[in-house]
């Protein structure tokens, strides 16, 4: 009972904060709202008994990534009026065509399969404990897990290449 209330509370908070991220003109305000979004998402994970995922959400996204975001915003000292919209050539075309395409497909699917809105999908009950996650990561998901470390290595190399001074 109380879980349901908590769910609705955090779900609404998540969505509201996510909207704030988009409409907030102040970059810091948007970033802080994003932190709030992650926090309430973590709360939703807790309600699903996925404690590990929840705390990882907080440690990684709220605690590390967003700190760096805000750090960069502060370094650039972006003020609301300094942020101007810049467009890429052909931007409109891409946006428009992609949006039309998606809208068409969704409409097609919607009119064809109205029952969607009356049925739900059954999710698997899964344990979100550290032991369960750890075992999965090192057995079934070993290859993606290891490849993710390659991915991170590639990202680090890339950041170093692009950020360092050009070789003279």
């Amino acid at each position: 009972m109380i879980e349901a209330y908590l769910f609705y509370f955090f779900a609404v908070t998540t969505v509201l904060l996510a909207v704030t991220v988009v409409v907030q003109p102040n970059p810091i305000g948007a970033a802080v709202s994003l932190v709030g979004t992650f926090f309430s998402l973590a709360a939703l994970f807790v309600l699903l008994h996925a404690h590990f995922v929840a705390i990882m959400q907080i440690i990684l996204y709220a605690g590390a990534i967003m700190v760096l975001f805000i750090f960069v915003i502060m370094l650039l000292n972006l003020e609301p009026e300094k942020v101007k919209l810049r467009t890429i050539a052909g931007n409109r075309l891409v946006q428009g065509s992609a949006a039309l395409y998606l809208a068409g497909v969704i409409a097609l699917a919607f009119f064809g399969w109205r029952q969607f809105f009356t049925q739900g999908v059954v999710a698997n009950e899964m344990e979100g404990t550290i032991e369960a996650v750890g075992k999965l990561l090192l057995t079934d998901y070993l290859v993606p897990f290891e490849m993710t470390s390659v991915l991170l290595l590639v990202a680090i190399i890339g950041a170093v290449i692009l950020a360092r001074k050009p070789v003279e």
Binding site: I88, A89, G90, L93, V94, S97, A98, Y101, L102, V105, I106, L108, A109, F110, G112, W113, Q115, F116, Q119, G120, V121, N124, K135, L138, T139, D140, Y141, L142, V143, P144, M147, T148, V150, L151, L153, V154, A155, I157, G158, V160, I161, L162, P166, V167, E168
Partner: protein
Amino acid sequence: MESLLNTDWLALAYNELPLLLLIVGGTLVLLADLWWPQHILPRWARRKSATVDVHVPDRTPLLLFGMLAALVAFIACWRLWVQHEMPNQMGMLVIDRFSLVGGMMIIGSTIAGLALGWGYLFQHKLPIGEYTVLMLFATAGAWCMISSANLLLAFVGIEILSISAYVLAGMDTKNRLSVESGLKYFLLGAVASAFLLFGIAFFYGATGTLSLVGFTNDGIMQAPTSQFYLILGTAFFLVGIGFKVALAPFHTWTPDVYEGAPIPVTAWFASAVKAAAFLLFARVMLVVLPLMPALGTQLIAGLAIATMFIGNMAALWQDNIKRLLAYSSIAHAGYAALALVTMATIPEAGITSLLWYLMSYSVMTIGAFAVVQLLGRDGEELTSVGALAGLGERHPWLAACLSIFLLSLAGLPPTVGFMAKYYLLANLVAAGHWGLTIAAIISSLISVGYYSYPIVVMYFRPVANQTPHNSMNVGVPIRLVIFFAALAVLVAGIFPDRLMSFIQNSVLL
């Protein structure tokens, strides 16, 4: 613990030898790059000499090591191809001849890409070690894409490949165009990845599994709810993968990125990245299309037609040879998508024609870019088509090679481009898509217009100003690449039987 021990690690390692070799090779290059001497002269000599030590040591041997690693991986692929008659699934990886042929294709392109970097990177003061490492890791990512039995692993592979590609495109930080291309590629690519991820999430919603094998034999599959999710997932997936392979409404990044990136990188983009994305596309569509044949086919066919015409029409107005080849690459993505349409009705023929088409396209586009790169001088790339004037007299062999590649791209006999297109269209007709075939032929005819433009310039336009012949970017590897590419284009175009049967042997569904 038990399940950890139950896995046959040795067998997994043996079957994934190409992947391991690529990653280990990349790591070794990274370490070698770290400990490479910083200066040519020893410390005491540097102190004494008044001139600043401008000569940084040439790290080109790292490229050689990278090529060696890729070559060993290629041979490992070949060994596995010989051994694996039937598909063999281990955990999330599936080893079948389809993925092995794809792997060989991509690793071959990577070897060519590394060879093209020889000399070029040093001249343009680009980081050689990182170039090699990123190429090798990206190839490992591509391997994960094409031999994955699970969408999760495939996505990780896509990201490895994409992030390496963003960095490679923007690598030349002194060149504004290169930075622009890297940034554009990154921003749009990130959005595309998000679409792809959404698509995968909806596939999961539809089937309750991320495994491509478990996709079809799942009871939930037929329920209307999951059909809805499936269509939604396919739509998102098409947007994402359409970006990665440059299908029509999502192609706009291609010319800018291909123009801005260093030429070896561009050649590698057009061959390896495109092939990897297409093979993943095919693998996913192989299981998705049978579930929704009509709609899926129509969607892909629509994208293919738009891509072919937009690519070919836009290329007609290009005066920059890199942009011209970029639009040509878009158009070819359209042709290759036709193979996927074929796949909906006759899967084996579709896959065969896709592999055949991608293979031939990789070879000819690498060749064309290699010639363009060879013509650059003094650290400047040759970009305008007009600069080709008089090439037929100055460098008859190079001009001949470029002509061969362009004719092959246009799909004229006796080149491999013709054979690939012929086989593709023949299968398309067999699948009963007459309209699509005619559209493809028309757009092909349009394309002859712009492919012949550089040829005409090379042989028939008088040289306007007699610029002295500066030394070209000499390098044995790049000449070898051009030679082998031209040889392959001609031989496979005239005697396609052996290669054809090799590919057909690889497609056992």
